[in-house]
Symmetry: C2
Subunit: 394 residues, 2 copies
Amino acid sequence: MRRIDLKKANAARSNTIRDINRQIVLNYVREMGPISRADIARETALQRSTISLIVDELRVDKLIEEVSGESTGGRPPSLLSLRTVDAVALGVDLGTVKTVMASSDLAGRVLEQEEFPTDADINKTLAKIVGCAQRLIGKTSSAIEGIGISLPGVVDPETGNLYVPHFNWRNVPIAETLTRATSLPVSIDNDANAAALAELWFGRPEIREVRDFILVLVEEGVGTGIVFDGQVYRGEGGTAGEFGHMTIGSGAPVECAVGSRECWEAFASERAALARYQKLSRSNGSDINFATVMDLALKGERNARAALKETARYLGIGIANLIQGLAPEAVIVGGPIARVWPVIVDDLKASVDSSICRGFPSTPILDSTLGAEPTLMGALSLVLASKFASAPVA
Amino acid sequence: MRRIDLKKANAARSNTIRDINRQIVLNYVREMGPISRADIARETALQRSTISLIVDELRVDKLIEEVSGESTGGRPPSLLSLRTVDAVALGVDLGTVKTVMASSDLAGRVLEQEEFPTDADINKTLAKIVGCAQRLIGKTSSAIEGIGISLPGVVDPETGNLYVPHFNWRNVPIAETLTRATSLPVSIDNDANAAALAELWFGRPEIREVRDFILVLVEEGVGTGIVFDGQVYRGEGGTAGEFGHMTIGSGAPVECAVGSRECWEAFASERAALARYQKLSRSNGSDINFATVMDLALKGERNARAALKETARYLGIGIANLIQGLAPEAVIVGGPIARVWPVIVDDLKASVDSSICRGFPSTPILDSTLGAEPTLMGALSLVLASKFASAPVA
DNA sequence: ACTACTTTGTATGACTTGTGTACAAAAGTG
DNA sequence: CACTTTTGTACACAAGTCATACAAAGTAGT
């Protein structure tokens, strides 16, 4: 029951039918590969001959490759899988502390990786990124097809305008500079959106089956990446996902980025947890950061555990709001805090349960499946997902 | 960047291309009609000959009709418009107080309408609905193609399970009974979702241009209908939109449906406004209902106005949360409260502004465009929208 | 070793659909 | 009344899938 957008709708031509089927076949190879032409034909109800024609196209485009398979009683199939010998994407995970860059193959496997501290001076940081990109491009023999960048800020997908509160960068020409230096297309997105994109395309199987979920990225603030109907929802001007500024009560331990003590992120961010720890331990040392608190908690230190558990409780209240309002099939919690998942998971889930009003079916709440750097995978996904995404039709 | 759902994706056949273009042409006629074949060809960049073939199909299906137009210097066009001589849809707006039923043409114009009090006994109500449906069907010479029902409860679009808290109806066989009595397809949805669908397809032009918006339906509770990318988002089990149970503070004037005093609807529903009025006026009479309070406020009664304005303030807090999290292009407030829009609009907007943290672009907040019964139009839309919706493709 | 069977992948003509060009129809213009 | 403009239709052609036939390359039974 989708309404057609007449302004953007493209009428179908003869080749539209091939475009659609090509992407379907490619995705079968990606998700079920190695798989034979005959199996794809059975799954899609297309003819084997049609699949063969499409496969020929995909092989010419170097997206898939053939390996030989075992017979099941007849002629042995030639199995198709994604071509993963080449590096095709470059990802830039621009964080408030450090920037991580990597190259990856079509399947999202990281091939080369580098990192360096992020400089508050955008020009210095940009210079480092350009240098690193050129090094990574030089290390591979194949052709990189694009660069994806995730950063902690708001990015308007239409205009390219961006704003990074932590460094107070406004409308800096990151994409333009990088495109000029490398002649590659560059796409930029908010870190929570990028991480959600990564979970959608490269997360563990139980997430990949899911088409509606929310990723809650806990860092200095709290961001959310919203996935509806298998696509990241960006909202007007790319500003969706700022549920971190949702009012959930009053008297938070810290102020949010704009000075309110009623926002979710004032209750549930890393800064809130740190403030709680400092209050509990009566220490005020500026040498203590959130990573230290997590280390202490993992060692069993009482105050650190209490601070994290209290933070988890407020995380839960916000997550309960999202579950009730959006009924996602899953909620994923990502960011550094995923490291102490065992410490916080019980309190978080208990808080969600007690905040949910009706007898809703309980929604799975999971920690991120993408290891320590979901946002790096997100940056890579900005390039990779565009190759697999469904053909645009009305 | 949508991920293909391999389980549901249908590969494109030769006729897929026609299915897609047929719906595009139909929607041009719906939204821009009366319009000539030549104009559609120019807009879609399809050939005039192709448009002619598609138009022939649509005329055979009695979806559009031809009228003659004025020349602009050459052969005069024959203009196409939706065929609106027949009644095609039946809508049932099942409310907590009364049930309104109507038949409409393809363009959503109501042709016949009836209403009766809703009986708490589902069997009695069902009998009345069946009787009324048969009367309405008898009044028209054309063939009704389906029945849409909107009701204040949760409906699972997959299983058809439903739950109406106000009457404590659970899994009552409304659709089955009605289908058996009329042999027509029946679709049921939550009232807020249905109203959102109506705004999407039949709202005033400034809303019809918009593809991402939120409809806030204020009644006994507070429900939201969420529209993303031109489609109503229902969430898992059809339970999305229950932002009414979002925690926004504590100490609400009434309890929500499940006994919490922290939910948005405990602050911002009709019941909350009524409780505020009763407290202010120290009257406890059970003869006063929300409609009375609105009447008093429109006459200028101080306490009634104060109660409504205070309620609007809390409506604004919740709306601000939604704006920050979802960045819709517009927010529409619907339900009976739309009648006192001039009384509450300033307080509501002021509250939204003060609750929003960053300098977000200000989102238009509008009252419903569908008059007194947005949910009736919603019920009709359940049938009508399915005829115009985009063809399902991967 | 030979035959029968199974399964996979390819080749070929038929059908659907949009394209592009030509053309007829029906007005206005001077 | 001839010329121009615009609309709608007719027909050969191209792209794509379908259905069918067939070749290729195995296993299983005798």
